[in-house]
Symmetry: C2
Subunit: 311 residues, 2 copies
């Protein structure tokens, strides 16, 4: 069994109220792989340039991640993103995006990567996501992310891609934008009608919500102060969420399993934002994850006692 993820491998420059980094390992596939590596053997697929060296590959290989499908483009430069987060950390300004080797990326998966049990399509052009999805025709569970840009400029391709996967993980506002629905519950109902097994609405600092035909489930974000760097939070969430599903081997992906996946996603995201870039999750332990999901359960559990209400 293994878990394949396609998406960006990058260098990021970020500035937040807690400090800044000029150049650190980043990218959706990187954050996803570091989080998911606790649960299964992960194979990230994506291009890097000459500037992506052994130090970066070593971080990516944490907990056994296989980097055979990291494509080295000779003479190229790795994707670079620079951004700044403002006071409340909910808004960010992109200062620079250099696609570099990503501009002409055509995903060619090795047989081992194609033969994955579970697949995650991180946020890249929908056409590329669809291409990868079709290369992994035996995958038992396929989840994907996207962003408002693709809803704006490639909606048809995005919809075609969504119709081939099991689970869409998107910001709540993007779910509404994608469907034209006035709120997230309505957007999720519409999307379940497209054949999805599950819709996950990411709500930033408020947490995340899960919609399936069987029901609704929501979990708050772990209350953290300070949040040092939100970069990669969504991909770490996806890594914990999708990873924990992969860890459960064969069998149907039940609503109950998806609720547990929400807890692992929330836990991984909370560690990710506690330090810059990959710093915290790279040295995270399974015991810390176990303790945090238990804490999340305590933070959302309540008991009802019989209460005689007045009429």
């Amino acid at each position: 069994m293994s878990l394949t993820v396609v998406g960006s491998l990058a260098f990021d420059a970020v500035k937040t109220p807690s400090g800044s980094r000029d150049r650190m390992l980043g990218g959706a596939a990187t954050h996803f792989a570091l989080a998911a590596s606790f649960f299964d053997e992960v194979r990230p697929v994506g291009p890097v340039g000459d500037d992506f060296g052994e130090d970066e590959l070593a971080i990516l290989r944490t907990r056994g991640t296989v980097t055979d499908d990291v494509e080295h483009v000779a003479g190229g430069k790795t994707f670079f993103w620079a951004g700044e987060y403002h006071d409340n950390l909910n808004q960010r300004t992109t200062l620079r995006t250099d696609l570099n080797v990503f501009e002409h990326f055509e995903p060619k998966l090795s047989p081992a990567a194609q033969d994955c049990d579970v697949l995650f399509l991180a946020n890249i052009q929908p056409e590329l996501q669809l291409n990868v999805r079709e290369q992994c025709e035996n995958a038992r569970f396929v989840a994907m992310d996207s962003m408002n840009l693709w809803i704006d400029i490639a909606r048809d391709a995005l919809v075609r891609t969504i119709r081939t996967v099991d689970c869409l993980i998107l910001n709540d506002e993007e779910l509404e934008q994608l469907t034209g629905a006035p709120n997230t519950p309505a957007a999720a109902q519409e999307l379940l009608g497209w054949g999805l097994r599950a819709v996950v609405a990411k709500q930033g600092k408020y947490g995340a919500a899960l919609y399936t035909e069987e029901g609704f489930f929501a979990l708050p974000a772990y209350p953290l102060h300070p949040v040092v760097d939100p970069t990669g939070a969504g991909d770490s969430f996806a890594g914990g969420f999708v990873g924990s599903i992969a860890a459960h081997g064969g069998g149907p992906v039940s609503h109950e399993l998806l609720t547990r996946a929400m807890a692992y996603g929330t836990a991984l995201a909370s560690f990710n934002v506690a330090e810059f870039g990959t710093e915290r999750v790279a040295r995270l332990t399974g015991e810390e994850i176990g303790a945090r999901v238990e804490e999340l359960r305590e933070m959302t559990r309540f008991e009802l006692e019989p209460l005689a209400l007045r009429a």
Copy 2:
């Protein structure tokens, strides 16, 4: 035992994507009383004008609410608010606010209202809240709401008032504005340092979070489509929250009791927004509330199974 609430009794005109009402019963004390009346005998304190008639009093008296402290100002007109909600229902424009009899309101509580077990200070000038709080010196549990206006123009009085109560229920952004903290967990920690037993952060469509010295608890809003009219949602939440605490009689207000109160608050708010004004909660039943808090428990419950994580 009884539950006193001081706040506005009003007529509202609202326009939402679902429709409009030119003039309907509203006001914070009204919405609070209708929700809290399931749990205890409620005494609303507030002024009304000649235009507030038997029809309005009859709605207010639902489930035994005592209207002896509703002060009729002869020759006056009842507080009037008109507003419009926009597409996503999270932003509203106030079209008109006529304070009318509220402009010269000086709360004079009857001995029965003063002798309350539990007190809620709905959103009015902090000086008036403090005045009422001091009239109810034997109250076992006192909670209050406020708004950004008072943080802007009467912060000192607001802080003085907060320091005399047990629980502050405020929008998360207002908690941050009040304390200057960069996020809600930090704001709540600061406020617990002021001597509060509990801080409740209202998060609109995302739900609400509870902070005490013992821990953190959060509950999503009930997923509802369509939301017809959000007016009074916060006060209905407070009515369910504070009411369910009042229903538990004497004894300490434990963290566990507060988590259960969050469920009742969330349930009452969800019914409030399903129709215009007081329409839904006025005809609500205890059975419906019981079913909804059970549903909320299901929507937030997850089980953890031992999972061997990779190292």
